[in-house]
Amino acid sequence: MTTREAIAVVAELLKEEVVICTTGYTCRDMQVVRDRARNFYMIGSMGLAAPIGLGLAVARPELPVVVLDGDGALLMGLGVLPMIAADRPKNLTHVVLDNEAFVSTGKQPTFSSVVPLERLAEAAGYPVVHRLVHPEQIRKVWGAPAAGPRFLLIKCRPDTGPAAPRVEADPERITQRLMEAIAS
């Protein structure tokens, strides 16, 4: 599956989850596949999607939170793995779209082809860790009841063809619409 196909599979499974999308094509693809107020398109601050998701998850334990991370972004801030594992928010699902490259800057390689990122999550202490390669596996794991934090590594390949358009919404508006959508 391609990265955009993986994003589409996750998108169709979403209900009330807040989704923090990492920098680059992940934001852009998610905006095209399924734009919603509960998506937070993090267009800068590469590496911080997971800590943002953690902050939301611990502050609102009843709210399901999904982080759509990338292999390059995760490698940039690996310290977040023990941080999440130590806090153990049950409501957090950490998805890593692992296409082994920094795709939006021209497909420069990361090294996740030789370092299995899910084993880092396992070592840190995530109670639920999966390595997924088929869309069906994503669907099956997604609905299975399990207390998080969950780490779902999705192996995918970079898309070919034209990139999705840039995120249209003003960053300030992205903040506002998410906060309004989840206001308790």
């Binding site: 911080l48 800590p51 943002i52 902050g55 502050a59 906060m179």
Partner: protein, 183 residues
Amino acid sequence: MSGKTLPAAPAGEALAALEARGFDFYSGVACSILAPLITELTRVPGRYRPAPREDLAVGLAAGAYLAGRRPVALMQNSGLGYSLNALMSLNWIYRIPLLLVIGYRGFGGAPARPDGACASGGPADAPEHWVIGAHGEALLKEIGIPVWVPDAAGWAGAVDEAAAWLERERRPAALMLRKGIVS
């Protein structure tokens, strides 16, 4: 600053001033100047979340803000470098407010006198703090983050002013604590 010790505010009172202004989510990275404050925070389990690096604390705090909390990130000024991109490309453009409480190492910069004192007249800090000590405050101001450098008596007033700024601008503000201000 002279060589003499500054009057100190007890950490409990310093924290009470933060809590009185509604700050209710604390993360950060350890710093000797901030140690009394962090120790005070950790007296209540779960009140303070240690981060492995300062930018992760900034990200964590941003998530807490989206969830309706009023976050504080504590760090030494050495952590500003790690945090700058987050402050600029996350907090600033998304209007996600954050109170930075920063340990002001290297205040006065490098030794500037034969006796080893720095430009402020006090003893110079260790070499790794000279450059960030001399320029960190200006760096923050340059990117639009206001800075307060209170003494012990001015702490509560500075918290009030910073909180009002965060409320109004919804962007980060910084309180920089020199050595010995909070004990």
